[in-house]
Amino acid sequence: MTATPAGTASTLVIAPMLVVLVAAAGTLLLGRHPRARTAVSLAGGAGYAIAVAAIDWYIVLGPDAPGIATYQVGDLPAPFGITLVADGLSAFMLTMVAILGIASLVFSTRHLPGGEGRSYYFPLFHFLALGVTGAFLTGDLFNLFVWFEVMLMASYVFVAYSGGPQHTRAAFWYVTLNLLASAVFLLGVGGIYATTGTLNMADLAQRLAEPAAYGLEPVPVVGLLGLLLSVFAIKAGLVPFQFWIPTAYRAAPPQITALLAGATKKVGIYAIIRLSFTIFAGAEVAVDLPLPLVDVAITGDSPLPFVGAALFVMAAGSILLGGIGAVGRDSMEGVFAYSSIGQVGFIAIPVAIATTAAGPELRTFAIIAALVYALNHTLAKGLLFLAVGTVRSATGTSRFADLGGLAKRSPPLALAVFVGSLALVGIPPLSGFFGKFLVFDAAARAGSGPVLVLLLVGSLLTIAYATRLWNRSFWGARTDAVEAATVDPVQVAILVGLAVAIIAVGVGFEPVYEFAETAAEAALDTEGYVDAVDPQTASELAGSNGGGH
């Protein structure tokens, strides 16, 4: 492969991963030189942002962009080698993560939790980013499992990072639950391989669309997809798999929690969208699942209605449990952790609507709604968790009992949190308004009254906990902790930067919507995905390579 334009585009696909990998190795080698370590880390972050921006422009959004590009690791052809695929959906997700990742990285250089593990903080940070990036880019189901593990290994350490008893306890639960999830994931992957004979996603989509031509019996795939779905729901923190979130989010350093909520959760959402729509939507399986208790029968000729039914229930549970839970917490990160559960419900509702949508138009629209909401959640929740970090490093606490009067103590900090909270609530002209608006619109177009009521209740709960948080920590009399606080200007600058981004997304919403639309179309374009990867059969390969080895 020479450096033809096509060659460059395909090398771009792996560029963000290589940048992070080199940054991880560099920070690991420079473990004992804090300044150089920080410099390499920041350079890695900048390189990552540039690589993602290049993918956005040259592969997805630019005038000559092909829309999708693939990369075969190790020069082994698909479906035998590992395929990396960058399309609209991956690019949208990567962009989200890049924005938050930079903010969290710069924040980390200002507020690095101490102790023995300090020299491993940045390598782990880059490994976390590597896992997330790999999960977004991979076109191979087993490889997706591997990236999940990379992501988890890093987050295990971060949850236990501060080293206290409650952190160790949180990490123990987190590790146990995720090991179990990994086992289930592996079981699902193994089952799919046994059923279809391939794990390359494009090849999988191709075979499932014409099971007869490949001599497959695709029915088990529905159940196996259910297994995978439960694993992704654990990552996304959907009810009934939400229980690990509050303890883990409280235990990890706040700037990492921002990433856990903003980036790794989105990996779960991404995996649900990618597998359900791009890969399994075309599967010819007659689904007929009568539910006598609620007098509904789930029927259809693809696994999607089954996915949709499960997602509806999980999303509804998440919105209610997250919202109600958040109202009663006694610390900032407690509120935001429960709020994350609720917000992911808001992202999952449109995904569920898309699975049951009658026409392609509504399906595209619902996915756009989910993506825009996900973007809003990443920016807003990222900002708010970083604000927890700022408040904690300024006052030494984030409990409501010890806070009060922060608004006058640091007006820019208060303003940033105010913008973030309003974005969660969904006030125009912030990004949250469009997120909520599109989700409501999708529900209205689907003509589902109960879903609209549910969304309304969820929004009211959001207003309740956002107001309560504001009253408890930013208004009222100044406490001793707030009086003695020294607020770090760089940290506040990062928060303000994210707040500006939230406003910018809202004000200049047109291009964001177009990007989300490209992403949604890519998610639904199974044919384009298969064509781009172009998985070969063994006999085709033998023919073209003259045997090979």
Binding site: M1, I14, L18, V22, A25, G31, G74
Partner: protein
């Protein structure tokens, strides 16, 4: 565990384990084996030495250094060396993956060369995958030994 039986057994089996580990490591690129399993086996040999002779034996007995017993275990010079091994191994693996990009090939592309007319062996296969495998080997040995000696000391 530091009994005479343990020590005598260790003297016999540690060299055998290390030789098997090395042979598994060299087979890795096209037969069962490789850097990971070679590294795990090497660590087993070290673990047996630790069990038979105590944690300080490597530094005091073999390297002839003084060991300060009151020191934090993770600050030991041997442990620092393990950590460095981990970091260098990881860097080597990354670099070996990046090298094919210089030749216009995708990340992690591997190749091999047959050396003919080598004494005793007649022909030897030199695989580029060996560099990557050696990186993996260093990561596994460095990582596992760090864990073993730090946790073992606690």
């Amino acid at each position: 565990m530091t009994t005479v039986i343990m020590r005598t057994t260790a003297r016999v089996i540690v060299p055998i384990i290390l030789v098997v580990a090395i042979s598994l490591f060299f087979d890795g690129h096209n037969l069962p084996g490789g850097g990971f399993i070679g590294g795990v086996l090497t660590t087993t040999a070290f673990a047996i030495v630790y069990m038979g002779f105590g944690l300080d034996f490597l530094e005091r007995g073999i390297l002839g250094r003084d060991v300060d017993p009151g020191k934090e275990p993770s600050r030991d010079r041997v442990v620092l060396a393990y950590r460095r091994l981990f970091a260098y191994g990881f860097a080597l693996a990354v670099l070996s993956g990046l090298a094919p990009l210089l030749f216009g090939k995708p990340f992690l592309t591997q190749t091999f060369e047959m050396l003919e007319g080598v004494p005793i062996y007649d022909h030897l296969e030199v695989a580029s995958a060996l560099a990557f495998d050696f990186g993996v080997y260093c990561v596994v040995v460095g990582g596992l030994l760090t864990i073993l000696s730090v946790v073992g000391a606690e």
